[in-house]
């Protein structure tokens, strides 16, 4: 029982990180039709920035986290301006290769700046674990849950109650109609990248105290974030959220009861199975059309 709670919480914690990354994928996919292979690196940059602000510059944690989000915004915007926009006219496949290039640049750059070793980041609250039903939990787990809940609330409000948020959704659903309705497409696209970059960096900042920060952590996070998005139906944000949690819990339980060596294989297996049986996602009607 104690073990189960521990595995569940570990799974949920990773799950919300996958969920945030999945939403990051969706935002860019909806704006451009492109699967962004640098999404995992956005998360990695967030983790690295938190390390720098908090451990090197000794900035108080809450402020450091805000700076991480701002860093993510900058990364997202620069990425959109230097990689996506110039390549867009050459077609989706070229942009996808471009995102692969950008991911490698970010990864290589991070290796030069922060080195190859995993970096420890102290949790936002305290080092001492808290006990819940007898299970020892890292306090960071609570921080991750609380801040993610805030982020989700913000996203929900933004997309359903603000004009700008609804405009972004309109662009995703019907670009031509949105253009005719006078929605400034370029700004909406930039905004999607800004949101995507900041959410992913936030995810990185939140997870760093639990998993450590490492220059090559992005690839795996990209795979799992994408898997979350696919479970929910690519492009569907609430779906990605449920997908992330599902994947996280499955992973947590399998790592606990089966073998942790193959834990990372699970996301891939789930991804293939979903594409095979329900490419439109488990949660709702997405866009995984068959040829």
């Amino acid at each position: 029982m104690v073990n189960l709670i521990q595995y569940l919480f570990a799974g949920l914690t990773m799950g919300v990180i996958y969920a945030l990354t999945g939403v990051g994928f969706n935002l860019i996919y909806n704006a451009t039709g492109v699967i962004n292979f640098a999404q995992g690196e956005f998360v990695m940059v967030g983790a690295m920035l938190l390390y720098t602000f908090q451990e090197v510059l000794h900035i108080p944690s809450p402020i450091a986290l805000v700076l991480v989000v701002i860093g993510g915004i900058i990364v997202g915007l620069v990425f959109e301006h230097t990689v996506v926009k110039p390549l867009m006219p050459m077609g989706v496949i070229t942009v996808i290769i471009g995102t692969i290039g950008a991911s490698v640049v970010l990864r290589g750059g991070a290796m030069l700046i922060w080195g190859k070793d995993a970096l420890a980041v102290s949790p936002l609250l305290s080092e001492r674990p808290i006990f819940l039903f007898g299970a020892a939990l890292n306090t960071q787990v609570l921080v991750v849950m609380a801040i993610t809940a805030l982020a989700v609330l913000f996203l929900w409000y933004f997309f359903s109650h603000t004009i700008v948020g609804r405009a972004i959704q309109a662009c995703a659903m019907n670009p031509l109609a949105a253009l005719l309705a006078g929605i400034p497409m370029e700004e909406m696209m930039a905004l999607s990248f800004l949101l995507s970059g900041s959410l992913s960096a936030l995810a990185g900042g939140l997870i760093a105290p639990i998993t450590l920060a490492e220059y090559d952590m992005g690839t795996m996070l990209a795979l799992k974030g994408f898997c979350a998005a696919i479970i929910g139906g690519l492009g569907n944000n609430p779906g990605a959220f449920v997908g992330g949690l599902l994947l996280g819990v499955m992973e947590g339980l399998s790592a606990g009861y089966l073998s942790s060596g193959y834990k990372d294989a699970l996301a891939f297996l789930v991804l293939i199975l979903i594409l095979l049986w329900r490419p439109e996602g488990l949660i709702s009607r997405g866009r995984g059309e068959r040829v």
Partner: protein, 313 residues
Amino acid sequence: MKRDYLLLLTLTVTILLLPPLLPGDYYVEVLLFAGINVLVALGLSLLTGYAGQISLGHAGFYGMGAYISGALTAHLGWPVPLAAITALLATAFVAALVGWPTLRLKGHYLAMATLGLGIILYILFVQLRGITGGASGLSGIRPVHLGDLYFDTPRRYCYLVWSIVVLAFLFSINLVHSRTGMALRALHYSEVAASTLGIDVAMYKLKVFVLSAVFAALGGILYAHYITFISPETFGFMYSVDLVVMIVLGGMHSIWGALLGGTFLSLLPEALHRLEDLEVMVHGLILLLVLIFLPKGFVGLIEKVGEKIHGAP
């Protein structure tokens, strides 16, 4: 079409003459490894340039070729040809297994699925210690011989590798100029129109993906039986990315792009005296800059220069 066969003849002659002219075994070995890279990149360029799909798992297929063929000869003492064929078949099977669900879908799911596959295969190379030797590697892989002729010097092996590269190019040239090649190009431009002409789009994409995985496995087999010791890091994610860099740099729209890009990227570390830690970033930057400023790669550049010389077409 004639031009392609002429180019192939030129390549063959160059490769025949080159090894004796090189200053030492070290350079012959560089040429040999360049040949392996070109072979793997050629397969990827058929997939990307002709079917418009990207794979980020080719390092995994490369590794499957190396590990399966290597382990069968090292542990079970199988003859190399039999081990190699087994490795090729196994790789083709795995590629089909991953390609089938993803290539039926519109969009670019293959790239992410192969990224995942590459990661899984890497985990297996490390975890299946009994077969792969785990992180410390697999040794005792048998060298290649034809009767009494042992391919045990760099020069001999270099000729072996490049003979296979030349044959692979011959196959690819034939293919792209055949009905099948035309069908692949057609579905690249319009899947809808291709399907209304009777082309089974999903099946064609699947077949070219399997073919390109087989090319990668063949490269891995050649690598393993030369070096006779392999360890997982050779087959990691970065090699998959490097392959993409090779075909983009050379020019994705032509199979010759694989030759130019593959050779260039193989020689780059030699020219820059091993980039060490900078390598990852330099490769990423090359990829981005070529996409933005030279979207048709080296081949496109050569074509442009050719047009200038011969006057506007």
